[in-house]
Structure formats: C-alpha cells, structure tokens
Symmetry: C2
Subunit: 406 residues, 2 copies
C-alpha cells in the first residue's frame, strides 16, 4: 500500500494507516472513544482487521463490530445495554466513512446507526429524542430536547450543533450535543440538506442548506422568546452558521446570543479550492471521469469511495459544480454578525482556514470584545480538523467560554 | 527494530509497536483515554515521537508531555486545569512504564505524577485525598475518602482497589477508584509493599505485601462495623486479595462482603513461571547477568528496562528468588474464602490464568451462587490483561454485579 495524502489537510499526526484519508478517519473514530461508544480496544480490534488503503475491509470490520455490539446489547437490561448500543452506533457510523452510498449495505448501516443511537438515548433516559423538522426546503432529521415549535417562556440555553460535509446528526452528539446535555442545556442537532442521510430524501448541499438553517433558527426563537441560543458549527458548519446569520431578517428575529465555530469560514469555495489536493482540483473536473481513470493510479480506492459519498451529497460528480454549490449562498458578510464569537482553529488545519478564521475574529472582536480565538497547538492533540482527536478539550474550552459570555 | 514478544501474554492485538512490551504499554496508556487524562490525540502525539523498541524515546516523549501539561494547567483556573493535571499525571505515569528506576529522572517523574494527580483531585473537589497508612511492615502511600482509622457507623460501601506488579496508587483510580467515587462509594486505594513508589521506602514484594493488606482490612472493619467492604484486585492484586482472606483470623474480623478479581489467582509462582517467555525463565537466573548479555541479542532494551523495574520492586535480580518472593505467602486455600466472587478473565490472557480463575470460581460459586465468571471475548476489546483496553466495560460489569449482590 503506497501512502496517499488525505483529501484535505485535516491532521498532523499518524495513527495507523499510510492512506491519509483512512488515517484521518481512524483518528476520528478513536477520538470518539474519549466520550463514549467504542473503547480503544474495540477500535483497534477493527483496525487490526483492516487492510491499509482498502475501503471494503474498513467497512467489513466496522459493520461486523456494529452487528456484534447490537446483538449483545439487545439481550441486556437497559442500564447495561446503553454502552453497547452507543458502541454499535459508532461502529455503524465508522463504516460509513468509507462506504459507497450506492452499496446495498449503506442503507442498512444507516438504519443501524439510527436505531442503535436511539436505543442508547432510551436506555440512558436521555432528554434528547429524534425529531423530524419540517422546512420549506424539505423535512430534516434531527434530535432535540423538546419540539422546536412548542412555545415556552423558559430562559433555558438552547445549544444548537451544526456539522459539515461528513456528519450525521448522531455525530453532533459527539461534537458537543452530549456535553451540552450534561451541562443542563436544551439541545438541537440537525442534518441540513446534503448532510447525514438527507440525500436519501433528495436533499443536497447548496443554498437550501442555509435557507433551512435560517428557518429553524427563526422558529426556535419565535417559540422561545426568553431562551438564550448558542449556535455552534463544525467543519462546513463553521460556514453555514455564519452565513445563516449574515441575513439581517434572520439575525434580527433569531437573536442568537453566541457563536462557536471550528473553524469560522467566510468563503467556503475558496477554502475548498485551496484545501484539496491538486490531483483532485486539476482537470478533468468530472469525478465520474476521474473514478474511471483511477485504475491508472491517479487515486486510491479510498479516495474514490470518499468522492462517491460527496458526489451523492452534492448531487453532482463535477468538482467545479460541487464547489459552486458549496459556495452558492455566497461569501459571508462578517460586518452583519452581531454576537460574540469563539473561533477555534487547530494547528494542523490549512493556512486558508486559519486566515479566514482570523479575519472573522478580528472583525467581530472589535464589536464584541468577549470574543475569543483559540489556536490548538499540535501537542494538545486538539490540532486536527474539528478537534476530533481531543474533543473533550475543545468542549471544556467551549463551556468555559460560554460560562463567561452567557 | 525486530519484533519481540511481551514479557507476559497480556494482549491479543496490535496498537503501534513491534516490541511486545512497548505495545502492551501503548494499549494501556491509550485505554486510560476512555476515562480521562490524555486524549487519543495527545497519546499519539507521544507515540509519533517514539522509536519502536527504544525505551529512552518513550520516556522522553511522555516526560515532555507531562511537563507541558502541568505547565499549561498551572496557569489556569481550577475547573479548566483539572483535565490538564490528570493528563500530566497520566503522561508522567506512562513514562514510568519504561524507565530505569535508577535513572535520576525517575524520582522526578514520580513526584510529578503524585503532584499532578493530587492537583487534579483538588481541582475537581474530589472526596479522595492522599493518605499515609501506617502498618507494622511500613508506612504505605494511598488515597482514601476518609481516614481508615476514623470510626463511623455509616453503612456506606467501601470499595478497595489493589493493583499488581505494575501499578501506582494513581493507577487504581483508573482501575475502578474513579468509577466507584462516581457511584457514591467510599474508596481506598493503596500501594502495598513492592507496589508503586514503595521500593523508595525500602519496601518490596513478599509476604509483607499480604500482611499489610490483612492489617488494613482488619482496621477498616474495626472502625466501620456497618460498612460493606468490596475488595477488588487486578493483576497481582487478584492474588493478594484472595491470599489476604484465606487467613481465618483476618477473614472473620474483616468480613469482606464481595470480591472482584481480574484475574483471581491462587498460585502466583506457577502463573509467573508459565506466563513468562522461556527466554526469561531459562538459566542463567540472575537478571543482572542477563542484562549484561543482552547486547548479544538475547533481549531488547525495552525488556531490559522492564526487568530493572521488577528487580527494584522485588529487591533481587535473581528470577528464581523473585518468583519465590512473589509466592512467599503460599498458595491460596480457596475453601476458606467466604464471600461471593466476580471472576474476570480476558480471552487474550494466558491459559494458566484462566485455569486458576476457573478453579477458584468453581469452588466459591458452590457456596455463593451469586458469584459470576465473566470471560471477555476478543471482540469486546476487554480481552487484555486487566481489561486495559476497555476499562469502561469492565467497570460497568463490576457495578452491575455489585448492584445485585450488595
């Protein structure tokens, strides 16, 4: 197995595989073990069965683990089963990192992910429950501590988590949802168009992604005038949340109290163009064409599978069109953002991500001096994209900041 | 770096290194990340700096991490510092896996381990505090939720954790102490003669190890007539706790309510003889002699360093004498054990460990049908020695069993 760079500059260390995309996913799955689900021993039980650079062996290892975990959990009392259900959900989710969505097993793994995660919530008596969120662009899958359209005068904190191009709503539990619950906050986790399983519903990334988020924020506020809304975004979510609020009509009604972004992104098209390896962004643009030529050694089966997933999420196999869709809603007008920001950047992320984050922070912190910018150095283990290798530290940092600004 | 077997059969998978002892330690350190301290990203930050089979590079990587974590934690408010202090303690402890105790840095790392762990306890407002436990064989370092000689009529559960040949009292927090605290139990963690830093006090493994444990149990009960005492033992601790209670005078006074052992050991000398690689147990017995000849390729620097640590703990470099000392208190008389037992065995442990555990279980479960034997299969990730790669699952299992038998 020759080594291959990850499809973006997402981490600065080596976990297990010479294939960069597989190794980033490995570090991500391992990172979850800090918060629940699969333990390091279970993660390496899978890693040991994977052939470097072979996505099918990755899927088989994690799919097998998901099946065993669910079968074992099913036969236990709820308290004992909770760990197993979350482990099964994480394993099913991990398999999805490198599956072709057209594979018949993909839908089955997705169903297992949802079923097991929800069994975990039930077994732990969680306040979080699955919700279907109707919007004008389509119905979105989410989790919430209460229906967002139910009126309440409570002054509770609503902690909203928005992921990026590689998240399911269940991931958002690991990206702060679970921690926010433990802090006593109300929580909303949602898959916007293009995210999670929404392509199964015919929804894709594009302007609809932003429109849906704006609608949800306005409705959340409309029914909860006294709540404090914290809007957090990870990866692409760092663009979606800023873009949602640069619309004056949305911002003035939603009155979001605080923004947390890892990383705050103003110009996602430029970030994608500069962050992806030249091998991907050079012509020919058609991914279908590129996949057909991959046997000539231009990309590994891992990269090919990862691209098929994005193609499914964007509804196009043309990279230029994909980047246009990602940036369809336009560059963020930072001057319109009207709340303090916690900007989080990892040392191992691309220069362009740091540049955009610094720009946003410089602007907002002039108006809101409570804003903070945190650079996670490499030695902290939180240096990777979205802090996936030390989510606990990132969440400690977020909660400490919120305790000051809310 | 050629591969080398671990000095005992302790795990059934591969984490990072071809050197077996280094790889077992790697999986152990990574396993702690599930419970707190170093996150996977921080652990791999160290792993990436280690040369396979080179113990000095291991020590340098973790010692450097410990220093950075403590320095960062010192400058933070207590709530934010807690994570960093525990991370520093874990890193200092990790360095100790492969340090020569005669190395000047060893004492310094030990001091950092204690200082940072205690700063973690203080920062989290833990009920646990460092204690010095006087016994007739010497004063032992421990942690307890209350002085064991303070009388109390409370009917609380005392959860006592005893480690083995490779544990410091701080490790015992990860081997159930921290979890027992979270369950609301009272907790006693102690380094018996030979364990942790006790060789610095001139204390070594041998009959004194058992005598000290017996004394402590009798005194704990004497001051707390209404308490329920749960005695747990890991690795060598699985022998110490059984041996402590096969003395009728001790057992009848201490009235321990439940035993948890991973694994229950009756004949530690035989276990050691059968568990160690033939390369170690074959003549010449003198470790000093063996270390002098290691340059001839008979063992790696990792194995040599690991042996120096045991030599320091036993006060002898003669393997035959060491095994005699380990077994000095004799084989356990199982018929005298008078409480239910949870026997835990991992699939990747030596046959002899399983054999002894099964024998103990068969005997005790006839008298105490609430006894259980749990075999952790490989896929559970809890198959290694002491379940170090899935401590959370082991602790869930223990707590679920205690909820039934107490």
């Amino acid at each position: 197995m020759r080594s291959e760079a990850d499809l973006g500059g997402r981490q600065g260390r080596h976990f297990r595989f010479r294939n960069g995309t597989m190794d980033f996913n490995a570090g991500w799955v391992l990172g979850y073990s800090q918060l629940g689900g699969l333990a390091p021993g279970e993660v390496f039980e899978c890693f040991n069965a994977i052939r470097d650079g072979n996505p099918d062996s990755w899927v088989a290892a994690f799919a097998g683990m998901a099946e065993r975990q669910e079968a074992a959990a099913c036969s236990q009392a709820p308290a004992a089963a909770a760990r197993g259900y979350l482990a099964a959900a994480v394993a099913a989710r991990a398999a999805w990192h490198l599956i072709d969505p057209a594979n018949a097993q993909a839908q089955e793994l997705h169903d297992r992910l949802e079923r097991c995660f929800q069994a975990f919530l039930a077994a732990t008596g969680s306040r979080l429950a699955a919700v279907e969120l109707n919007t004008t662009v389509g119905t979105l899958p989410g989790y919430a501590t209460a229906p967002i359209d139910a009126a309440s005068d409570a002054a509770s904190v609503w902690y909203v988590v928005v992921g990026g191009g590689d998240t399911f709503r269940e991931d958002l539990w690991f990206f702060g949802g679970g921690r926010a619950l433990a802090e006593g906050y109300d929580v909303l986790l949602v898959d916007l168009p293009g995210q999670g399983s929404t392509p199964y519903r015919g929804l894709h990334f594009g302007e609809a992604t932003i429109l849906a988020l704006r609608e949800l924020l306005v409705r959340l506020r409309a029914h909860r005038p006294a709540a404090r809304i914290v809007l957090t975004g990870f990866s692409g979510g760092g663009y979606f949340i800023l873009k949602a609020l640069d619309d004056p009509a949305t911002a003035s009604i939603a009155r979001v109290e605080a923004l947390v972004a890892s990383t705050p992104v103003t110009d996602i098209a430029t970030l994608l163009r500069r962050g992806m390896p030249a091998a991907l962004t050079s012509r020919p643009h058609g991914w279908r064409a590129r996949l057909l030529t991959r046997v000539a050694g231009r990309m590994s089966p891992v990269m090919a599978t990862a691209l098929k997933k994005y193609w499914w999420q964007f509804g196009t196999d043309d990279l230029a069109e994909l980047i246009d869709l990602a940036g369809q809603a336009g560059v963020v007008d930072v001057a319109r953002l009207d709340q303090p920001l916690l900007a989080i950047v990892g040392e191992s992320e691309p220069t362009e991500a740091t540049r955009q984050a610094s720009e946003v922070f410089a602007d907002i912190s002039r108006r809101y001096p409570a804003s903070r910018m945190v650079h996670f150095a490499k030695w902290t283990g939180a240096d990777a994209h979205c802090q996936v290798n030390n989510l606990g530290l990132a969440q400690d940092t977020i909660m400490a900041w919120l305790a000051k600004v809310l």
